[in-house]
Symmetry: C2
Subunit: 110 residues, 2 copies
DNA sequence: GATCTATACGTAGAGCATCTACATATAGTG
DNA sequence: CACTATATGTAGATGCTCTACGTATAGATC
């Protein structure tokens, strides 16, 4: 899968993963891999900046903790984040319907 | 619909419209509107550069003509273009399946 | 105790598709 | 003569994502 394809849809994917409960960055990347059947393998250089962006937008809140001597930043969906996720889902539904409609061979408009 | 969402998928949409037969830029934009039920309204500054890019990539071939005193550049799908369209459709199928899978609430993995 | 791998976070610089806004030209209408 | 629809195109800016790199701890292996 071309990595560029997620452009514009990454936020929704991250929010969706976080809906299950708080996770730290590394775990989010793994969850994305798992949920997509291994077809979505996003580099840290893509995900970490996105997380900071989402936190800055107040869709996530992050807290530091130390687990096994390692620093972790755990992200939790905020109320705004949940709201945004719903919006993203609606947007995706509409968008995918539009692309389906245009992409589908127009087999006779009769 | 956020305009940025088509990012990375525009090529496929244009190729799909051209599958019905040759069209010029203005008509392509109108066809995109029609096929999407008016939800896809792309500005000329997006479509014209894309057409030139696709032509440069040999997925389209363009020819000038004059209709009613106005210059038109009519684009036709090349053999490579048809091939690329098939690839874009496959990519889209996979991509939308992945996004669906990640976005869908994980209602119990039980 | 040195090295290697997995875990975990992050930044720097670049690319490139798309956006907004503008520029140009013809035909027809009022 | 001005305005709208048709028709094509460029200029500059934006901003997400990419590639590549940098840092650090824990545990296993040698």
């Amino acid at each position: 899968m071309k990595p560029d394809a997620v452009r514009g849809h990454l936020d929704g994917l991250i929010l969706a993963v976080l809906e299950d409960g708080p996770r730290h960055g590394y775990a989010i990347i793994e969850a994305l891999q798992t949920r997509s059947g291994g077809r979505l393998d996003l580099p840290t250089g893509t995900v970490y900046p996105a997380l900071r962006r989402l936190e800055r937008a107040a869709l996530l809140s992050g807290t530091w903790s130390t687990v096994g001597g390692r620093e972790r930043r755990t992200y939790t969906l905020t109320r705004s984040g949940r709201h945004a996720l719903a919006g993203q889902r609606a947007d995706w539904t509409e968008f995918s319907a539009v692309v389906d409609a245009v992409l589908r061979p127009s087999a006779g408009t009769t």
